[in-house]
Subunit: 217 residues, 2 copies
């Protein structure tokens, strides 16, 4: 058999990664559908034909970038949500909100180009990429719904309705991430303004969930 860590494979992965990195760099200021194959290979320093050794399409490159951008996030999200399992009270809830917002802020700070790519291509013109992003976000919603289900405030909620609520949380986090991109990375004040707004909105949603089945709701 051919073990997968031969010199050949390693070098192939290196240029593949170089293509992904250069793509991300070039996509900071343009859409995937306007990124040229030659433009990309020129940036990397390989011949145009070399691209086809790694991806069938530009769409293929895009799908790979989606995985790079969001793939590692699932475990992190589950970890954050686990800290609120079974906990009650608004103090505990606020801690969970704070942790979620902090996670969003940190991830955007550390992966700006990736997040920008996701925001840009979420409704972009490249079908397979749109589908890949939608699939990842759906998985996020599943995970958030599972996390919500363990909390006392969700006692009277059906699984289906919890999933709808989870989508609201996910959408809101994506919106917050996109808002953070609109502000320069070193603008601490603008940064904090967005995060404060995000916290407020999450608290409104949390309160709404808790009182949703009250008599005067």
């Amino acid at each position: 058999m051919s073990h997968s860590s031969g010199v050949r494979q390693v070098q192939k992965q290196q240029t593949r990664q170089a293509l992904l990195d250069a793509g991300l760099r070039l996509l900071e200021h343009q859409n995937l559908s306007s990124l040229g194959l030659r433009e990309l290979t020129r940036e990397v320093g390989v011949s145009p034909a070399a691209f086809y050794r790694h991806f069938p399409d530009m769409a293929g490159l895009g799908v790979a970038l989606v995985g790079e951008a969001l793939g590692s996030l699932h475990a992190t999200i589950r970890a954050v949500l686990a800290q609120g399992a079974g906990a009650a009270g608004s103090a505990q809830n606020d801690a969970l909100i704070e942790a979620s917002v902090a996670l969003t802020a940190d991830y955007v700070a550390d992966h700006r180009p990736h997040i920008r790519f996701i925001a840009r291509e979420r409704h972009g013109g490249v079908g397979p990429v749109r589908a890949a992003i939608a699939a990842e976000l759906d998985r996020f919603a599943d995970e958030v719904a599972a996390g919500l289900a363990t909390q006392p405030d969700s006692a009277r909620w059906s699984a289906a309705d919890l999933h709808v609520l989870a989508q609201l949380y996910v959408d809101h986090m994506v919106a917050t991430a996109a808002a953070l991109l609109e502000v320069p990375p070193d603008d601490r004040a603008g940064h904090e303004r967005i995060l404060a707004a995000a916290r407020l909105r999450m608290r409104v949603i949390a309160v709404g969930r808790r009182h949703f089945f009250d008599a005067d709701a």
Copy 2:
């Protein structure tokens, strides 16, 4: 002076409109940044050079499309929100939610390509278009905030926090509109599924607003 309804002006507006219409048609399956000038003029049946008589750029065409897509919506939104002014009780609130959701559904049904364009270019690669969309959505948030302010449930809310809440409503409506686009126009079941989820989420937010300052919030 030259009155603005001469044969000349009318014909000019006609080809301008033809450019906008053809643009919208071609943008249904691609991004603005990948729409070629020649591709567009070919679709309309005019020479490439004719484009420059109407727009300096593709970005210019895009900004004009933003106005076409969202400009007429402000008055409609104000009208819907006015019906809830000063009203209390969850029944009245539900009516307002229903009206908002119905407005969104109708507008998407009647302006699918426009809304698709907005969703696609909201975070797209063309700066001026992004800015134009952001400006329109900000105006929507202003209008929603003004509408919310007239309701008893907002009694203890500051103007600034109401504006943050209004952005949540606007974001949610945009997300709902985008979700409607993902489903074929004649899929009544999928359509209704999305609208039911939107209503639920809006109700959660409304309940959260009402109980936000409760002792156990």
